[in-house]
Symmetry: C2
Amino acid sequence: MKTVVLVMAGGKGERFYPASRNNYPKQFLCLLNDDESMIQKTVNRVLPIVDKEDVYILTNILYKDEVKKHLPFVKEENIVLEPSARNTAPAIELGIEKVKEKYEDALIVVLPSDQLIKDEANFLATLKLGIEYASNNDALITIGIKPTEPNTGYGYIKLSDSNKVSKVNKFVEKPNLEKAKEYLNEGDYVWNAGMFIFSLKNIDKAFKTYLPNQYDILSKDTSKFNDVEPISIDYGIMEKANNIYCIKGDFGWDDVGSWLSLERNNVQDKNGNTVLNKDVILLDSTNNIIKGKNNKLIATLGVNDLVVVEDDDVILIAKKDKVSNIKEIIKTLKEEKKDKYI
Amino acid sequence: MKTVVLVMAGGKGERFYPASRNNYPKQFLCLLNDDESMIQKTVNRVLPIVDKEDVYILTNILYKDEVKKHLPFVKEENIVLEPSARNTAPAIELGIEKVKEKYEDALIVVLPSDQLIKDEANFLATLKLGIEYASNNDALITIGIKPTEPNTGYGYIKLSDSNKVSKVNKFVEKPNLEKAKEYLNEGDYVWNAGMFIFSLKNIDKAFKTYLPNQYDILSKDTSKFNDVEPISIDYGIMEKANNIYCIKGDFGWDDVGSWLSLERNNVQDKNGNTVLNKDVILLDSTNNIIKGKNNKLIATLGVNDLVVVEDDDVILIAKKDKVSNIKEIIKTLKEEKKDKYI
């Protein structure tokens, strides 16, 4: 059976403002010190196990041109456009319906478009294991990430056993810190990273069973996409079906959740500064994160622990411990009717 | 006798980097929240006492086009170009030689082009007093500024008496803090602000007497300007002649010596931020100085006591107590051969 990759690229995001915008979300950003965007990295890293013509990009209609610019080798017919944001279950079914036009059955790998993976060989080995398992079993597989810290920003998955491909005990919501510490200690919890592997037939059956209204609409006419209810694949299927399995992944995964994560994923200078800009002069300045557009000098003098981001029409200067409040800037811009900067 | 104003606009400066540059020094900057540059303010404020055609701009040949842009009503023949920087004495004599082509005698007012004056009426009254005195006496007059603090950045002038027009006792170099405090307490010291008033005949005689080599060259052929020795008018004439008088000025003078002086000369928002930019969002941010080019949003989050300056090709972010080290940035740019940013 052929392997097909569905790349989920419909997400929007405020956490990388001002680099990310309404019409330019995180998946299109270059967040490492190279010229590859997150979506380019996502696709390039799976090309060893999938043919180019079997890569599908699920994205909001707003981002169509940007997707084409970043992935010129993906044929237009493989760019599946969501006319509105309806969360992951409708988006994935939209992709599945598209794949059904080409293949009677296939192994489907669903991947977010905005994550980093350090150990690509290990990542591909994990996918291969899942593909193998999904082709021989009645199984909907999710890739869980081995936790490295009591992170309260992710959903968790509790495993039932320690097999290479474990049965899932349950999905749990984002925990508080105390719970997150428990999960980390117990050892049988993994982070839900939004990566899935299943056969076309099995996921089709699951949509039919667990989301019958959505299935009824989309399996007949995908142009009725706006009529379906928004729901996540986790909530709509994964938490309900009883053929859910999980492979524990340990391949240097990072969902690059905010400007601060640039420190984890880039090399620092001798003063702890993380620099993504061509020309900088950082005097008496430590532990700053500097991201420019490469055509201006960014000079600092005596400043520490700042996030400095230059974009075409916005300059952001934030204390590192305040970047989680970036959304307040966007809120204020809305209030002050300065939407052109959003 | 006609009054002629010589505006000294040849100075360069690093203290307002990156807004000031080699080819764009402080006199061309708008440092108040309006659209008037320092040189425009300088000329506009004397127009009540001088005819437009009697305003001369002494400037480096590098700045000719910029002067024309800022002062379109000044005729090209009134822009006196220094082919190189030779300090104030040669520059002023160059201007004097130019005025001699038009007037046999005149009252000359020499003014720097990069200072702010709050009380313009009082300033003009001071100039008028000096013009009156210089037209009736053998006197070279300097305007001294009544000190408001023990500033170590200025030269001082010691007065001999408390007349409205005082005889000068001596000129003294920039003092250390202890000396500056003494001068402030003694009450007969004023700051040397580089403003002078004299008749054409008297200053011409002074050049001939105290700077004979320079006079010999420039009075014959101003195109030989590069052959004269650099020397300041203070050192070359004021400290030597015995007909030096001083008028104590008290008109809200500010030489706007660094980015920090923007706080003194602009209104702050309720959090103490000084803003010279069209659009800003300053959240949880206090006592910053923000100067942009008016076409970008500058957003800050949780930052205090910063100087943020956006220019076409440079962004500077400095802690306020470090701005006196801006020259280190320029030095580093030279070392790293990034002269295009200087």
